[in-house]
Symmetry: C2
Subunit: 354 residues, 2 copies
C-alpha cells in the first residue's frame, strides 16, 4: 500500500491561516518546509514530479516521515519577523502582546517567560501584568480592561490555570474579542463552526496542527480525518478546522466504543486526548498522517523522574503511518508560533496593513 | 439482526432541551409519545420490560417503526400550552414572539401565518412587522431595535430569505442574543460547540431532531451518529448536539468520498442534505434509526405538479432501519414546536419562572 503526499502551495486555506507572505526568493518554499533532513523514508521511493510538487511514496515496511515541528515553527517565526520588520519600516508600528500572569506557579512563569522571549525574537512588544495569588477579580479585571483600551496592545493572553477563587469563564470573556489571540471566545468558536463566517482568531494549537499538515504538503480536502479528543482548546476546534478544509471528520472521545475501528479508516489522525501511548500502531491505516498533540509525563529513571511522551505510541505508529509528528518537537513549537501569528494578524487588522 | 430501543425518561439532556414539565398524571408519558398507532413493527416482537421502559425488538425482515413527528409535535405543543397557562396563572405573564416579514413571497407569508397560528394555539402573544420588498436596511433595523427593547417580546424571528439588497448577516446580528430564538447567532453556536458552556437557544430543526430521538426512546450516548450535510442551520448544529449527548459523530458532505461506507456504520443517521432520495437502503446499517430532515420537491402528476420527498429513499430504508421519520410528518412539525419551546424558554428566563 502506498501514500501520495502532494504539496499545494497555492492553498487558499493556508493563506487564510497565515497572513504573512513566504520568502519571495524561494518559489519552492514548500519543499524547503518538508524538512528533508529528517525524512526517514526510503529515498529511492521519493521522487519529484515538478518543481512545485513533491511526492513521497511510502510502503508500509518503511518508517514514516517525521514532521519536524521545531524546524517548521522556526521557519514561521522567521516569516513573522520579516513581516514585522516590513510593518515597522512602512508604518512605524509593531504588534503588541499583553500577558497576564496570576500567582506563582512555576510552570506558568516558565510559559510566560518563553512567550515574552518568542515575542522579543520576532519584534513583538510584550506587556505583562503580574498579580499575586490572592488578587481580587476586580484587580484582574482592571488590568484586562486597561489592555483592552491600550491601542498598542493587539493581543491579550491570560495565562491559565487561574487560582480557584477566580471565575475563569467570566475573566476570559472580559478580554476584547478583537484581542482574543487565544481564539477561545465563544463568538470566535461559533464563527469557526459556521460556513461563510470567519473567526477573528483561530485557537493556536489546532491552527498549528493544520499548518503542519499544509507545510508538509498533506492534502486535506476530501480526506477522512479523525480527531481523538474533543476539548474546547484542541480537539473540537481541530475538527472544525479540518471540516473547513473539506475533510470528512469524525470525533472520537471517552464514550466512543472501539475507537481504533474509526481511527483505522482515517487518512489523517490528530490525537489530543492527553493519554500516554493511547494511539497504537494497530489504530492507524497504512500511509496515514498522524499529528500528536499529547504531552504526557510518564515515570522515568532520568534525574527529573519523568519524561514527556505523546498520545501516540511513536515506535509502533512510525512503522505504519506515512508521516508522524514527534513529541517533543512536533506540535509543541507550533503553538507559540501561532500565538505570534495571531498577534501579527490582529495588528495588521488594526492598522489595515496588507 | 435486532435493535433494542429503550426509553430514558430521566435524561438530563432532555430536561435541558425542553424546559417544560411533562404531565404529572402520566408517569408513563414516554410510552404515550411512542405513538404506537403508527408503529409498523411486528407486534409480537415488541415487549414491555417495565412501566417506564419500552423495548422494541426488530428484525431486518420487518419494516421500521415510523417516528410520528406530527403526533410528537402535537404532544409538545400541548405541554407548552400547559406551561404557559401555569405561567399566566402564577405571574400573569405570557411569552411573546415577534415575527418580521419583509416582502411579498407567498411561501414566507404562509410560514409566518402558520407561526402566528401556532403561537395563538399555545397562548404565546405574537407581534408582527411587515415591510415592503423595497424597504431600507434602516427601516428594518428600526423594527428589530423596537422589538429588542420591548419587554413583552421574548423572541424575534426574521423570516428568511430577505430581499437581496438587505445584508442578512448584519440584520440577523442586530437581533438581541437574548431574543435569538432561532439560535443562529454565532455566540449561541459557539456555546453549543463548547463543553461546559450552554447556548441560550438551540436552533429549532436540529433541536427537533434530537427531541424526536429522545421521545422515541433512542439512546444516543456512545452511539455512532452520522450527519449528512453540514449547513449552519441543520447539519452542523445537529452534529454538535449529538456530540453533546456523547455520540461519536461523523459529518458527511459533498466532498466526502463513498459516503455510504460511513453512514452504513451509524446507529443514528440524520440526513439534512437537501437531495431527494440520496440516502438509499444500502447506506443504512440494519437496525439503525434514520431522521430525515430533507424536504425536496420532485415532479409529480398531481395538480400542483410536484410533491415533497425527503433525503431518504423511504421505501428502501424502512426495510433496513429500526425506525425512520416520514416526509411529510416527521421533522417538519417539530421545527415550529421547537420555536414555541425556545420562546417559552426565553420568557421563563426573563421572568425567572421555574
Amino acid at each position: 500500500m502506498s501514500s501520495t503526499i502532494c504539496s499545494d502551495s497555492s492553498s487558499a486555506a493556508m493563506a487564510r491561516l497565515l497572513p504573512f507572505q513566504r520568502s519571495r526568493n524561494d518559489p519552492f518554499h514548500m519543499r524547503r518546509s518538508f524538512s528533508f533532513g529528517s525524512i526517514n523514508s526510503n529515498s529511492t521511493a521519493r521522487r519529484l514530479k515538478s518543481p512545485a510538487t513533491v511526492q513521497v511514496s511510502l510502503t508500509t515496511d518503511t518508517h514514516a516521515r517525521v514532521i519536524d515541528g521545531k524546524s517548521i515553527a522556526k521557519q514561521i517565526r522567521e516569516e513573522i519577523s520579516g513581516e514585522i520588520s516590513r510593518m515597522n519600516d512602512t508604518i512605524g508600528k509593531v504588534p503588541g502582546l499583553a500577558v497576564v500572569l496570576v500567582g506563582s506557579r512555576k510552570d506558568s512563569q516558565t510559559y510566560v517567560r518563553n512567550k515574552k522571549k518568542a515575542c522579543a525574537d520576532v519584534g513583538i512588544t510584550s506587556y505583562e501584568a503580574t498579580l499575586s495569588d490572592d488578587c481580587t477579580e476586580e484587580d484582574l479585571m482592571k488590568h484586562i480592561s486597561k489592555f483592552n483600551d491600550d491601542p498598542s496592545v493587539h493581543g491579550i493572553l491570560v495565562q491559565l490555570p487561574l487560582p480557584r477563587h477566580l471565575n475563569e469563564e467570566k475573566i476570559l470573556n472580559a478580554v476584547s474579542i478583537h484581542k482574543d489571540v487565544d481564539g477561545f471566545h465563544p463568538l470566535n468558536i461559533g464563527r469557526l463552526s459556521m460556513q461563510g463566517r470567519e473567526p477573528l482568531f483561530v485557537p493556536c494549537t489546532p491552527k498549528g496542527c493544520i499548518e503542519l499538515l499544509h507545510r508538509s504538503g498533506v492534502e486535506i480536502k476530501g480526506k477522512r480525518a479523525v480527531v481523538v479528543g474533543r476539548s474546547n482548546i484542541v480537539g473540537m476546534p481541530a475538527a472544525l478546522l479540518l471540516q473547513r478544509e473539506n475533510a470528512t471528520i469524525s470525533i472520537v472521545h471517552s464514550y466512543t466504543k472501539n475507537p481504533e475501528q474509526i481511527t483505522k479508516q482515517a487518512d489523517i489522525v490528530i490525537s489530543a486526548a492527553g493519554v500516554a501511548n493511547l494511539v497504537r500502531g494497530s489504530w492507524i491505516k497504512p500511509g496515514a498522517v498522524v499529528i500528536d498533540v499529547g504531552i504526557n509525563p510518564v515515570d522515568d529513571d532520568c534525574p527529573r523522574g519523568y519524561r514527556l511522551v505523546g498520545d501516540v505510541c511513536y515506535e509502533e505508529v512510525r512503522k505504519v503511518a506515512s508521516a508522524v509528528t514527534p513529541v517533543p518537537g512536533g506540535v509543541g513549537p507550533m503553538t507559540i508560533a501561532m500565538l505570534l501569528s495571531n498577534t501579527l494578524i490582529s495588528a495588521k487588522r488594526v492598522y489595515n496593513f496588507k
